[in-house]
Symmetry: C2
Subunit: 340 residues, 2 copies
């Protein structure tokens, strides 16, 4: 007996039946009792235990949240979550965050799989040979990876943006503008997105017979302060770069501060391009010099991850399809021809 | 039969039993079968359905997440979540985010209460006469409010910071430095924290026979762009303020940009104080002029909310205790004596 059948039998709307079962005051007491009695008699129980018994589904998707004193959740996570929430709301899915020791996520994955507390999970910030992928396959827990791993034995389902292509195109443009010494201020190089971005820069430079010098690359957590420190280091070195690519808008704030502190300016002394995940609260056109960006909405990615998880749960999707989104290269005032 | 008793009976460690039940490969097949058989025979089932049957608890705390095309989750949320995760991880609590239509959270609260899918919830961004407080009391769902409401008929449990006191103290200091025209760039004035901050400014000014002019107050969502627009408006008005208080570090980025765009400087032309929730990725000492702040860690608040929810779930806390944390006033280079 489902809601529709129950409503039909009672000659009430599904809304009224649902409201009665959920204790809304708009439904009068007599109707409420009639609905409750019928639901009981026919075994209709709209709670998760009943749903699980009937369908084997919990209506929840999961995410293992790395925590610890040294761990900070990135503001990118909120924007992703906004998108995921947009989709989930329309499809009656809740999201269970299971906080885990950042050094031992496996225990938590095993627990949630054993408990069957969620129908599927998503995995974020993948690294090369990411062990979570094989673990989830072994646990038979449906999943989608947001991002990509490399060097795994088997394919797996993922959604990623073309990080390599984006940084390749941005670098190619800078080279065409005459830049020869290009620096890269990257995120954590243990993560695939950062590896791909560096690869894109190297490939574009190699295409013009140039090389990315090791000392022109800095990788770290994407904070304003780390952006500042990296930029100071690059700008105060011999043969300082005339152009910098930067992996986040937040780091770019620090780069901008460093440029100003050492008495240089954008784009006269330095061309600057940063990756923009499209935050509502910090926009590249609002930098003191509007910032050129590689742009891709992480909120849209969140919605798509939720959509594909829902499809996997309902059996509409299976297999190991990977999906790579193109990235926009948006030119604003922060880049110019190399003056050197 | 609990895990300890089961382990004792089997003469195995609790770790081995737990691993066997959760399908760890380290446990050999014979042991695993012995454990599973004994667990079954003695009715030990370590999954959430069993836990719920045995204790009536789901081991989950809930949060109704407002969503919608026009809704952005604030980066403050991530920092709060980090703290909540820190505590929850150590206490085997998961967090269920239930995305709701921002214009109708009530339906979602009713659903999660009816489903008994979480043991308790927290409420954030409360407004005066916030309807969620009475709703949760009526639904008998344990809760804590992060922040405060006003004008309610009954007391309720909450954790808040002393927003009024913080902005009172900051304003008082600015007045003592000779400032007479003070502006306020605030968050959404429908929310209590913003009301309290404005009240603090007004009270401090009144204490010196001054008034906060209506045109010196701007309230909006706390984005960089809104900070910029508000500052432009204040700085280009007749009798522009010589000091501004600002409700967030992100808005303060925009204020700093506006000050520079109109050819003024901090603190020579304008003293600036902002509220700092203590983000790891954007720090007030790293502003081009280090920023004076009212400081309170929103991550610590997240941990405390989780701790009190756990106490309420286990019956260690009840009643309507409110808890108000003092706020630090941290002076850095962005304030100076009024030159006018």
């Amino acid at each position: 007996m489902n809601l529709k059948q129950l409503s039909h039998m009672l000659e009430l709307s599904q809304t009224t039946v649902s409201r009665a079962l959920n204790g809304y005051p708009e439904v009068n007491e007599e109707t409420r009792r009639r609905v409750m009695d019928a639901a009981k008699r026919h075994g209709y129980r709209p709670n998760p235990s009943a749903r699980r018994l009937a369908t084997g589904k919990s209506g929840m998707i999961g995410y293992v949240l790395p925590t610890g004193a040294a761990v900070s959740i990135d503001p990118h996570f909120v924007e992703f979550l906004s998108g995921l929430g947009d989709y989930a709301r329309g499809h009656d899915l809740d999201l269970v965050l299971s906080p885990a020791d950042a050094d031992d996520e496996e225990t938590t994955y095993r627990r949630i799989a054993a408990n069957r507390q969620v129908d599927a999970v998503y995995v974020s910030s993948p690294r090369p040979k990411d062990r979570r992928v094989a673990l989830l396959a072994a646990l038979a827990l449906p999943f989608i990876v947001h991002g990509r791993s490399e060097g795994l034995d088997a394919d797996y389902p993922f959604i990623d943006i073309d990080n390599e292509g984006a940084f390749h195109e941005a670098t190619r443009l800078l080279v065409q503008l005459g830049h020869r010494r290009i620096g890269l201020i990257n995120g954590d190089i243990r993560e695939t997105f950062a590896i791909h971005r560096e690869r894109g820069v190297r490939r574009a430079l190699a295409g013009s017979g140039l090389a990315l010098e090791d000392r022109a690359v800095v990788s770290s957590a994407m904070t304003e302060e780390n952006g500042y420190r990296a930029a100071r280091r690059l700008l105060e070195s011999d043969g300082r770069p005339t152009a910098i690519l930067c992996s986040s808008l937040i780091m770019a704030l620090g780069v901008q501060r460093a440029v100003s502190d050492v008495g240089l300016s954008v784009p006269g002394d330095l061309s600057l391009v940063a990756h923009d995940d499209v935050f509502t609260w910090l926009q590249p056109e609002n930098f003191s010099v509007p910032l050129s960006t590689t742009r891709s909405s992480i909120r849209a990615a969140g919605a798509r991850v939720a959509e594909r998880l829902a499809a996997r749960i309902s059996g509409l999707e299976d297999g190991a399809r990977g999906e790579v989104w193109p990235v926009d290269l948006v030119v604003r005032g922060s880049i110019a021809g190399a003056s050197v």
